[in-house]
């Protein structure tokens, strides 16, 4: 007996952990992984609703979200490599070129 609210709360908790990671961390790679965790939290909610409503469309959405996450990871890591080559750091606090 697991009500769907438990899945939604778990999903919200994972999302909050991901959001906390983005706020707290100053390491670009950890911030990036936190974004992946938030995407997965949303996926978990979609899968739980898909099971609860007995439709499989949610599985297709999750499939598409995973494709978007893969594309995002590839481009984002390329940006990190390009930034690291120029600035020799991945500390997000030191990327303040536009603020000065």
């Amino acid at each position: 007996m697991i009500p769907i609210a438990h899945y939604l709360i778990l999903s919200g908790l994972l999302f909050a952990i991901g959001a906390a990671g983005v706020i707290i961390s100053r390491n670009l790679i950890v911030m990036f992984m936190s974004i992946e965790l938030m995407l997965n939290a949303a996926n978990l909610a979609i899968i739980a609703f898909s099971r609860s409503l007995n439709v499989m469309d949610g599985h297709v959405f999750v499939f598409l979200i995973m494709a978007v996450a893969a594309a995002e990871a590839a481009v984002g890591l390329a940006i990190i490599i390009a930034i690291f080559r120029n600035r020799k750091t991945i500390n997000a606090d030191q990327f303040n070129l536009l603020r000065r």
């Binding site: 769907i4 099971r51 890591l77």
Partner: protein, 177 residues
């Protein structure tokens, strides 16, 4: 009873993996904890009879995307001095409080919702092949054919973009990363 135990154990592992991920200083350990969290989430998917998507989570996420992260960390050869903090404008406690308030807000929203569908998610009856490869693929190639084809264009753009972004300029000297 068994399904309740599986749910709570996997939920705890998923949450613990996430917390350890953001608490680590070493990014390699962060990646490994994220893999732990993702495998626990894959167990939850499979418990919700999403076999295909659950396998994809392990194969694509844990197997490909996170290995890409590890590969980048290895390529950049990150060491301790790259993670030393400079200025810390808000204290760490304030940041935790902000995200805890955000979580409480989400919980309150869930409590207020009149949730549709059946109350008991896991043990309810469904078709035997619910969430298998064949029915998901059928949806993907009929009802959602256009978004599926658009995904291939998105991946192509991402590949080209990543190569352009990470390519070394001709003017830069060799020997750097």
């Amino acid at each position: 009873m068994l399904e309740v135990i599986i749910f709570y154990v996997s939920a705890l592992v998923a949450i613990g993996g996430g917390v350890m991920m953001i608490a680590q200083r070493n990014p390699v350990a962060s990646v490994l904890y994220l893999i732990v969290s993702l495998i626990a989430q894959a167990v939850l998917y499979i418990q919700l009879s999403a076999l295909f998507v659950g396998s994809l989570l392990i194969i694509v996420y844990a197997g490909a995307i996170l290995v890409l992260f590890l590969f980048v960390i290895m390529l950049l050869n990150l060491r301790g001095e790259h993670f030393e903090g400079t200025d810390r404008k808000i204290s760490r406690v304030t940041k935790y409080i902000i995200s805890a308030a955000f979580f409480l807000e989400l919980v309150l929203i869930v409590k207020e919702l009149a949730l549709p569908g059946r109350t008991d998610v896991v043990s309810a009856q469904t078709a035997t092949d619910f969430g298998g490869v064949e029915p998901v693929a059928e949806l993907l190639y009929t009802k959602y054919l256009f978004p599926f084809e658009l995904t291939s264009i998105l991946l192509l753009v991402a590949v080209v973009g990543a190569v352009v972004m990470a390519k070394r300029d001709k003017s830069e000297k060799q020997g750097d990363i």
